[in-house]
Symmetry: C2
DNA sequence: AGAAATATTATGTGCATGCTTAAAAACTTT
DNA sequence: AAAGTTTTTAAGCATGCACATAATATTTCT
């Protein structure tokens, strides 16, 4: 007769779906819910933690628990290592280095790191391919002041992507998604038309405030990032 | 001297960052960690729950806890109601209905719902504006078989977005992000060039298997979706 | 009346303990 | 050796209890 925390969570969700609980509605306190569901307050707490994390309810000390007033769509995306994404889809992965040079970062890159001054950085561009077809074009800036070892890595064999993920963990990461028109170079490498709309995943990482890398993963035409919400 | 769960989580994170724990490494079991941190197993469990949810560790019964072998970037995006997003940025929100008609859904839409047959649906297009400037163009298909009440709503006053969110909760939601070239109509409405690359957030929702709505939110040129990971 | 101090209350966190469950490992049987 | 069975192990779940903390409500003081 008594419930586990999943049952409680699902029952609250059901009440929201059935409109027995409307946005802004106040729930009974944990103690009362525990009595209703014939379980301990700890179990209710566990269910409420989950509902709060998914954005279904708001919890405030003394204020109690309320159904979120303005429902949002909360989605979690996992951005994997490109090689693994390709292999997971059962395709053959290959990679080649397009360019590698040391340059002063343009303002766009410096400002993304929160740096006032343009700095010398290692700039690497590379192409990831699935079944010999272009898949993702990677345009990367690496703060070689923070990660000097990268200068000794043979990037024509191993992608900077993987080397960094394995050897330089980060403490902070900012992700942005955007669309951009294909430049002539991008169009050539990704086998698309110039001016085609391309989907871009941009990631900037730091370790304890020091910049590590900023990468634009520019996907082939038609690429979609999919996730299930809730 | 004893730790709370946040301290434990942060210490494990630190060990990963400092490469004291490498990907694939096995952690001591909860009991041993509890002794190390001089706290109860429950507290360790709480920290591990958080680390598992953020994708830092993998936990398997009997298998124990290991540092995630292939680190991924896990990001949570909250997609708010457009009006609230605009108002939160301190801008003035306005909205107008562009079109409203009943049409047979094209294959692209039907297949997004997982429907084999094309079905009659209500198709609504509308423009959301910030400070009188175009912000997001909304191209929506509504399964009026599932939600007949929508036919009586005055969509020139209230956006379908808000009416649905308030009146038709969903049990399942699929989100996809992509880039598309501006059509002539989109370019006109969003004050962009034809062929400009536009960022699209597409959401499809169901309630217990029955389709509710599919919406393409087509953002103005230059729009970026930003999130902090971890 | 308005400000400051105090009490109240609901959630948050932690502890000790025991039972459940999935999966690996060990063992048996074919 | 392969296949099936049992055992063991480590994480997951649940309980009851106590104290911490933050936000609100109430009272006291000026």
């Amino acid at each position: 007769m008594s419930s586990n925390w999943v049952d409680i969570r699902d029952e609250i969700r059901r009440r929201v779906l059935e409109r027995e609980l409307l946005p802004g509605a106040k729930l009974p306190n944990d103690q009362e819910l525990a009595e209703e569901f014939k379980c301990s307050r700890t179990t209710v707490q566990r269910a409420m933690l989950d509902l709060a994390q998914s954005g279904t309810v708001d919890r405030r000390r003394k204020g109690g628990t309320t159904i979120t007033l303005h429902p949002i769509t909360r989605t979690t995306f996992d951005i994997p290592i490109t090689r693994l994404e390709i292999e997971a889809a059962g395709n053959d992965y290959s990679y080649f280095l397009v360019s590698r040079e040391i340059l002063v970062s343009p303002p766009r890159v410096a400002s993304s790191f929160g740096l006032a001054e343009p700095t010398e950085m290692l700039r690497v561009t590379a192409l990831h391919m699935a079944n010999k077809q272009p898949y993702i074009f990677e345009d990367r800036w690496i703060a070689h002041e923070t990660t000097p070892e990268i200068l000794d890595v043979d990037l024509s064999r191993e992608s900077a992507n993987e080397w960094l993920i394995r050897n330089r963990p980060y403490s902070d990461c900012e992700v942005r998604f955007l669309a951009k028109r294909a430049t002539r170079q991008e169009a050539e490498l990704l086998a698309s038309d110039v001016d085609e709309a391309l989907f871009v995943m941009e990631r900037t990482t730091w370790i304890n405030g020091a910049p590590i890398t900023m990468v634009r993963a520019i996907a082939k035409p038609g690429y979609q990032l999919v996730a299930k919400a809730n």
